[in-house]
């Protein structure tokens, strides 16, 4: 029986705990051409979107990852005996989005943009690996600079940093807020 690359890709995504990129898949499936792999990938994704399933393949941080169907949240929480997953704190989320839009950025710059000292909550973001230190700024005092990580992208199911909410989306939100009052 011939082994179809589609099924191998399915296996590979399945055993990966982090989004698996097409490049990595290609580097593992050396027996198949890039074109074959790309076709198989497309085929696999179609299978998963066209058929109703308990599990799905999501695209995030430049790769593919299995996740459960959001409609099953209730039962999964029951099984795992979880009340709910932890959300980011408001301060954490604000720092995160400041970094996301202004990276690379220093702590002082984050604090200036927010009007608040922002060293609080930075620890959680670093420990959760949602942001990382990427070196120092070539300016007086050489402060550390921060960037968001791939884990940040995966957390919000963004494929790349370009998929962050755009100016238009942001303006739309602001308009909506204005009309609320």
């Amino acid at each position: 029986m011939k082994i179809h690359p589609k099924h191998i890709i399915e296996s590979l995504i399945f055993i990966s705990l982090e989004p698996l990129s097409l490049d990595k898949i290609k580097s593992v499936l050396t027996e198949f051409s890039d074109k074959e792999i790309e076709g198989a990938m497309k085929d696999l994704l179609e299978n998963y979107t066209s058929n109703e399933k308990g599990i799905q393949i999501i695209q995030a941080a430049g790769g593919y990852l299995f996740s459960t169907n959001p409609e099953h949240d209730l039962w999964i929480k029951r099984l795992l005996k979880f009340e709910r997953k932890y959300r980011l704190s408001s301060a954490g989320l604000e720092i995160l989005s400041t970094i996301a839009y202004h990276q690379p950025i220093t702590l002082a710059e984050i604090s200036a943009l927010r009007g608040v000292d922002s060293i609080h909550s930075l620890k959680t973001l670093l420990q959760k690996k949602l942001v990382k230190i990427v070196g120092r700024k070539k300016s007086p005092g050489k402060p550390l600079i921060y960037r968001t990580t791939d884990k940040f992208l995966a957390y919000f199911e963004l494929d790349s940093i370009k998929d962050l909410p755009s100016q238009e989306e942001i303006l739309k939100i602001l308009e909506e807020e204005k009309n609320l009052d």
Binding site: I15, L17, Q56, I58, L65, F66, S67, T68, N69, P70, E71, D73, I76, R84, K85, R87, L88, S90, A91, L93, E94, L96, S97, T98, A100, Y101, L113, R114, G115, V116, D117, Y155, F156, E157, L158, L164, P165, E169, I170, L171, I173, L174, E177, K178, D181
Partner: protein, 239 residues
């Protein structure tokens, strides 16, 4: 009247002075590009005064903004000819508010995405892979097992050195206990299980039981991935 006025707003509800200012601007339906600085300063100070107790560190940040507002107000009062044309003393503040407003809006979109993501579950660790016996790194060798055990024992020795319990443990009884545990729990976490043992002696007996069970192929020891804890499972055919 707007419906927000009924609420007692606490400064703690705001991320910082910019957040409070944006709230007031919205509440008073103020055009952000043309802020009536006297009104906003008054409102802002009113809010600060309402607070009985604010966190000291954050109070400084709120007060700093109050100082900035008052400074801008005083500049606005200066005779026109003293200020170069086009330069609005409010501009610095407006720019900061616009930047911050964007961050806040992005936050609310991201919060929505986070909410969606919370309902999707991903695995944090993998179940044992269906790989055959020749795989070196996911299946743990006896040596790995012994090594992990010895490391653990070194630690335990430090903790238990003062008192050694006189109780005796038979190999047979321990083996039965372990199998019962496996039947009930489907797998056994190597480190957890040995940590639960009361004394060094009991841990040793358990360890030799485990080696024996692996040797006669009743159980299988697997490591989910490198550096994860070792899990012991009953072999399929024996369960």
């Amino acid at each position: 009247m707007d419906n927000l006025q009924g609420y007692q707003i606490k400064l703690d509800a705001f991320q910082g002075p910019l957040d409070l200012l944006l709230f007031l601007i919205r509440k008073k339906k103020i055009n952000i590009h043309d802020i009536p600085i006297a009104t906003i300063t008054r409102e802002y100070l009113k809010h600060l005064n309402q607070e009985e107790k604010i966190n000291l560190e954050r109070e400084a940040e709120f007060l700093l903004m109050a100082a900035l507002l008052i400074h801008i107000k005083s500049q606005m009062l200066l005779p026109r000819e003293n200020i170069p044309e086009e330069e609005d003393p409010r501009q610095v503040l407006v720019d900061r508010l616009l930047d911050y407003q964007k961050i806040k809006a992005a936050c609310s979109i991201l919060r929505g995405k986070e909410e969606e993501q919370m309902q999707k579950w991903q695995r944090t660790s993998l179940p044992p892979l269906s790989l055959e016996d020749d795989i070196e790194l996911t299946e743990v060798s006896l040596f790995d097992l012994a090594e992990a055990f010895l490391t653990l024992m070194k630690k335990k020795e430090k903790e238990n050195i003062q008192f050694i319990k006189g109780k005796e443990f038979s190999l047979e009884a321990k083996m039965k206990e372990m199998l019962a545990y496996l039947e009930e729990n489907s797998f056994l976490d190597f480190l957890d299980y040995f940590n639960q043992q009361e004394s060094l002696e009991e841990a040793f007996v358990s360890f030799f039981c485990l080696l024996e069970l692996i040797k006669v192929k009743i159980v299988i020891a697997m490591q989910e991935s490198l550096f994860h804890t070792i899990k012991v499972w009953l072999r399929k055919e024996s369960s």
